[in-house]
Subunit: 304 residues, 2 copies
């Protein structure tokens, strides 16, 4: 690209987060190429004024910045180094921005593998949900080389309301994200345990919500997720399986560091029980339903 | 009392909470009698314009409202029905306000025992800390008969910024408080697990605090307690032993209801490990120190 031209951006993975991020980038005036395994999603993006690509290699061919918005390390690795992957075509000096939540060790390995070929890697997990993605108001927890930050910055500025710069190598962003996921996962499990136990004790759970959100027992997750339980609405905003994955990564990281994490280990078991009961793709507040069903406790919209 | 006169109030238990509550009541214009096992504390209260009593029976003799500010059910029962207890002297129609956190089952039993003798019982656990106690700005989670509320209301109004009326019988206030304690205890244990694990991963824990308090992993307890870890200051604001007690009550209640609570069970074990390591009377953020010591992780102010 010339120094005055806007960088060209490819977004790979047009799910609820990626589609919003690609739209926000397009609205900010960038030329954006979208790529997804679902051809109809790419068509929709093209019909709204974007460009489309069939494979990550095609999407990356003319890109200065590739933003990867997939769910885990395995998908990220496939997009980078699999057949028709980004690494086949990405120009020297271009930057790959990885937003998946993953083990920091894997983020370091992927970064090293890409950097040895002369391309840059920014470890940049995101948080904030689909709505903030579409508004360009995500929180991004980023780490990487100065060159990776410099290359990615125009896209970061358009996607994020809050950009944390957390270190000069891949892995730091991932590690901060994992600490957040540890807490978020435990808080959902605790909120579910508490609200179902309150219902079992005969308490009015709407009153419980009112009291707790004004008290020292509150958490961001309690306040955000428990309305789903009050409404009996388990349409997935974020699915149980996400925390099966993320608390699983915590267990792997902690075991590898010989660091006991019994509280998050207990929380993981509750997500696993919920997924095992057939609710893996439902909203993660379904952990409360699992407690209720096991104990014969009545919750709104539930048959017990 | 005549209908126009201000009710006379006794406060039993002049610890950091009770002393503040007695002072707030005095400042609101009530005639307040203080009573405590520590004679010098009573003397201090008298020197500041209050009245003093040697025993709960003495304190209750002329009181319209008795506010009990002790730490648990056993102390509450002793104050009520032990030798020189409130029940020996309290007038018919007067009200006993119990602020200790306890099993709802015990609150119901104590209330019934007092009510059969013609006195009223308000189940009224508090939260908010010593400073808000002294300012008359506590949160009070109350339940009891209409007569108990009516009798206690002048004192409640002077002690509380927020009064929740949670039901017409003792036990409901206690149950709401226990749900809050379940969450608060799990959140302290999770915050401790997360911050110590972050330190083990080599992250800058001040940066972790900044990121988490702005993210979905935040909790009231993370935000309130983790500064103690950042500063290496474990002066007890609230001690580890409080949650050994309160999460223990949760386990008792849950077992009795045949309701599994594995997340709070794991958190209790962490408080027990911290107390067993000799830190039971230190600040409850000491759970983070316990994780750090066990794993050889360096935290501010700690020798590892």
């Amino acid at each position: 690209m010339s120094s005055s031209a806007k960088p060209r951006i490819a977004v790979i993975g047009l799910g609820s987060m990626g589609y919003g991020m690609a739209s926000a980038l397009k609205r900010a005036g960038f030329e954006v190429t979208g790529c997804d395994v679902a051809a109809e999603t790419v068509q929709r993006f093209v019909s709204e004024g974007g460009e489309g690509a069939r494979t990550p290699a095609d999407a990356a061919r003319d890109a200065d910045i590739v933003v990867s918005v997939v769910v885990n390390a395995a998908q990220t690795e496939t997009i980078l180094f699999g057949k028709d992957g980004v690494a086949e075509t990405l120009a020297k000096g271009a930057v790959f921005v990885s937003s998946a939540t993953m083990d920091p060790e894997i983020a370091r390995r992927l970064a090293k593998q890409l950097e040895t070929t002369g391309r840059h890697y920014l470890d940049a997990p995101i948080s904030g949900g689909a709505q903030r993605a579409a508004q360009g108001e995500l929180t991004i927890l980023a780490s990487g080389s100065a060159a990776a930050f410099a290359g990615a910055r125009p896209a970061l500025d358009a996607m994020a309301a809050k950009l944390y710069e957390l270190g000069d190598a891949a892995g730091q962003g991932a590690a901060f994200k994992m600490i957040n996921q540890l807490l978020a996962g435990v808080h959902i499990a605790a909120a579910s345990e508490a609200i179902a136990f309150a219902a079992k004790q005969g308490l009015d759970i709407r009153k419980v919500y009112e009291v707790i959100t004004a008290s020292a027992g509150n958490s961001w997750m309690f306040e955000n997720r428990m309305p789903h339980v009050l409404d009996g609405d388990y349409t997935p905003r974020s699915a149980v399986e996400i925390f099966v994955k993320d608390l699983g990564i915590i267990q792997d990281m902690a075991r590898s560091a010989k660091f006991p994490v019994p509280v998050s280990a207990a929380a993981l078991q509750m997500f696993l029980m919920t997924a095992a009961s057939g609710m893996g793709r439902d909203d993660d507040a379904s952990v409360a339903r699992m407690y209720a069903r096991v104990t014969g406790t009545k919750l709104p919209g539930e048959p017990n």
